[in-house]
């Protein structure tokens, strides 16, 4: 904190040296702390990655198989319709 403003010092991968970043006003510091902590700590496990590569990957396109992407849309629309169209988004997979 400096006065009414919040900053964070982090390693700058582009310039390869520490750098101070401006975050915003003091009252926004809590929000940034939560986002930065989550951004550092959230992990996708090796097992999840292996499963994705094994079951979902279209190796020719190097993206998820299109049929699964379409299925996720049709299932979402169907779930939304059956819930009366009141939910913004449905859950995972």
């Amino acid at each position: 904190m400096k006065g009414n403003y919040a900053y964070v010092t982090m390693w700058d991968r582009l310039s390869k040296r520490p750098r101070r970043y401006y975050l915003g006003r003091r009252e926004e510091a809590g929000k940034w702390e939560e986002l930065l902590t989550f951004a550092r700590e959230y992990r996708v496990s090796d097992e999840e990655v292996r499963e994705y590569l094994e079951y979902y990957l279209d190796e020719d396109a190097n993206t998820t198989k299109a049929e699964y992407v379409l299925l996720s849309l049709s299932l979402g629309v169907e779930l939304w319709g059956s819930s009366g169209g009141t939910r913004a988004h449905s859950g995972r997979r």
């Binding site: 700058d12 989550f38 998820t64 992407v69 379409l70 849309l73």
Partner: protein, 165 residues
């Protein structure tokens, strides 16, 4: 979309699903240049004759069109720059029965989630990190370009934290 916005890119969860294990979604988001009011007015006039379009006037950064029960959003987040490099980095994907569509690059998509997490919180950090982790596993993520795009939107520090393994 090609007719009005040939430089479009699909973003949001539908795009994310091309780069990570699919999650259910009920809409398709298109990143387009909504600052071109003349073109936007033409699209609103054209689409309104067949579908419900909201809002019905120019000057907004998000529009919704309901097409055959699917919610189609046209968006241009205020703090995210549309660049020719982003257009050239789009991925052309083929969908059986639909055709070929352009999807935003994993780097631009992750940068967009970093921007939106300022309003939507950690759930968009999760989406960004999913795109990064699975794209790295496919050998398809340019960290330098990602950080450059994040810097243009003032979220470089958040993106740098996302790159931690």
């Amino acid at each position: 979309m090609e007719r009005f916005y040939p430089d479009y890119a699909i973003i949001g969860r539908f795009a994310r699903n091309f780069y990570a294990p699919p999650e259910t979604t009920l809409d398709i988001d298109f990143l387009v240049d909504l600052g071109d009011y003349e073109r936007l007015a033409e699209l609103i006039e054209y689409a309104s004759s067949q579908y419900r379009v909201t809002p019905g006037d120019v000057g907004h950064w998000q529009y919704t069109v309901i097409v055959s029960g699917v919610k189609v959003d046209l968006v241009h987040p205020p703090s995210f720059k549309l660049t020719q490099e982003a257009v050239s980095r789009r991925r052309l994907v083929r969908i059986g029965g639909v055709g070929r569509v352009y999807v935003a690059s994993p780097e631009d998509l992750a940068a967009l989630y970093a921007v939106s997490s300022k309003q939507r919180g950690v759930k968009d950090v999760v989406k960004a990190k999913d795109v990064i982790a699975y794209s790295r596993a496919r050998g398809d993520f340019d960290e330098v370009y990602f950080l450059r795009r994040c810097a243009e939107s003032g979220v470089e520090h958040l993106c740098a934290a996302m790159l931690s393994r």
